[in-house]
């Protein structure tokens, strides 16, 4: 009997013991459930964000590809006009008269008409290549696409083109041009283009008059010479035209965070560490606005051969000789892709990393 109070006391101490265990286990389970839900939300939002970055970059690159195809078209128009002028000079204007002059008025009139016709085409090309008329609208389309895919991401999307130091930042590429009668200049452009300023033209005409009645004019071939300001060529073989986009932000959905200092596993429901980032790179490719000065001797006609009439004429072919290919399209590229050749995304990724206070290893940017 003396042991009874002791037993009763022990039983009293054990009362509620299971409830404590149940409470602890339930608490743990709720944490796991919240964690699983959070992971689901984050994974879903990360995928949406990556899709948004991909599609936004693609939209901007597609828009740039449209601009580039337009530039091919306009450059081709310039080349066509030059070609037609030269054909006219060869086929009709020379030998029209024996005026005992060093120039043919008819041929000169043709040349003047050609210059007048070329000027608006040159200005159209410049206007289309202008940065604010090409890259800026393209990026706007990227923002629109981001918003269409993930509400609220328009303001959370940024393109590296807008960052100083970026190879595609406004002012990195320039177009230099001159017209015959309407001045010239240079503007920030989607890529660097320079004009073939001295596309030499000449014509055969009759000038030498041995006698007073000009009965036996002797042709003075290919003289005088004049020059057209014509098509545009690229300053380097492969301008770096990339669209690198980034979408970031804290998902709007309320996380099921367990509220304690620092949030669950170091994250926080109030943002900050919950920020998600998605990067994407897209690129216009496969077309060619025109020749390159390094890769094509026809780029700048001043370093090309002089024109001569007749069979085997050296008038350059738009697609073959000048390499104007209206086939630009857009594709997604891996961020790591530029490591092989270019340098733009590599530098940009590093630059962006510096903004985040981190130094990114670009090898991580595969997707």
């Amino acid at each position: 009997m003396s042991r009874l109070p002791s037993l009763l006391g022990r039983a009293r101490r054990r009362a509620g013991q299971a409830a404590v265990f149940v409470a602890m286990i339930l608490f743990t389970l709720v944490i796991f459930l919240a964690l699983a839900t959070n992971i689901g939300i984050v994974v879903n939002d990360k995928i949406r964000m990556q899709n948004t970055a991909d599609l936004a970059s693609y939209a901007a690159a597609y828009s740039e590809a449209q601009v580039l195809n337009n530039l091919v078209y306009l450059n081709g128009m310039i080349a066509d006009t030059v070609s037609q002028c030269r054909s006219t000079l060869v086929s009709s204007s020379p030998y029209v008269d024996c005026l005992c002059q060093y120039e043919s008025p008819v041929a000169e009139a043709v040349i003047e008409a050609c210059k007048v016709a070329l000027d608006p085409l040159i200005l159209q090309f410049v206007a289309a290549a202008n940065y604010t008329a090409s890259v800026t609208p393209a990026l706007q389309r990227g923002y629109s696409t981001a918003e269409a895919n993930f509400e609220g991401t328009r303001s959370q999307t940024s393109f590296m083109e807008t960052l100083p130091g970026s190879p595609t930042f406004m002012g990195q590429y320039w177009i230099n041009y001159s017209t015959h009668y309407m001045g010239g200049g240079s503007f920030p452009a989607i890529a660097s283009y320079t004009q073939a300023n001295s596309i030499q033209v000449n014509y055969a005409h009759l000038t030498f008059c041995p006698g007073p009645n000009c009965s036996c004019c002797i042709p003075y071939l290919y003289y005088p010479q004049d020059s057209f300001r014509g098509w545009f060529y690229k300053d380097n073989s492969d301008p770096e035209i990339w669209v690198e986009g980034r979408v970031f932000g804290t998902p709007k959905k309320q996380f099921l965070d367990v509220q304690y200092s620092g949030g669950y596993f170091g994250a926080s429901a109030t943002g900050g560490d919950d920020l998600l980032y998605a990067y994407a790179v897209a690129k216009p490719y496969e077309g060619s606005v025109g020749p390159t000065v390094t890769g094509n001797p026809n780029a700048d006609w001043t370093i090309g051969p002089l024109y001569s009439p007749g069979p085997g004429s050296l008038m350059p072919d738009k697609e073959g000789d000048l390499g104007m290919v209206e086939e630009y399209r857009a594709r997604l590229a891996g961020l790591n892709e530029a490591l092989e050749g270019g340098s733009a995304p590599t530098d940009l990724a590093r630059m962006d990393g510096a903004m985040l206070g981190k130094m990114w290893n670009v090898a991580y940017f595969k997707h």
Binding site: A18, F21, L29, T37, L55, A59, Q66, V72, E327, R329
Partner: protein
């Protein structure tokens, strides 16, 4: 002795009580994973369709439709001029059935637009 007899099945009862709760939690996590998986499928297929159509989706293109940026086995040539464009892909997917319920239907649209 009487108290000991009463306590004999206490653990079994506690386990029996907790087991359904634990099971519910794990089943819930499984359903959550299933929904997440279906959502991931949806998003990726919709994006893929917006870009490439059903060229690379193969048999997984079921429930997917839209107008793709890819045409004829290659990326679509960008028509010159600043004309508007819109490509899109819609995809649906269903998570696994729940206990006494059918799976969650998910519908996702991916858009590439100039507007």
């Amino acid at each position: 002795m009487r108290h000991r007899r009463i306590r004999r099945a206490q653990s079994a009862v506690e386990v029996m009580l907790l087991l359904p709760v634990v099971m519910m939690v794990f089943i819930s996590m499984y359903y959550l994973w299933s929904i997440t998986f279906a959502a991931a499928n949806c998003h990726m297929r919709a994006r893929e369709y917006a870009l490439h159509g059903d060229t690379y989706l193969g048999g997984r293109a079921q429930g997917t439709s839209g107008s793709a940026a890819l045409q004829g086995g290659d990326y679509r040539k960008a028509e010159r001029g600043l004309t508007s464009f819109e490509f899109s892909g819609s995809s649906s997917d269903t998570s696994i059935d729940g206990v006494g319920t059918s799976g969650v239907n998910l519908q996702v649209t991916a858009v590439i637009t100039s507007n």
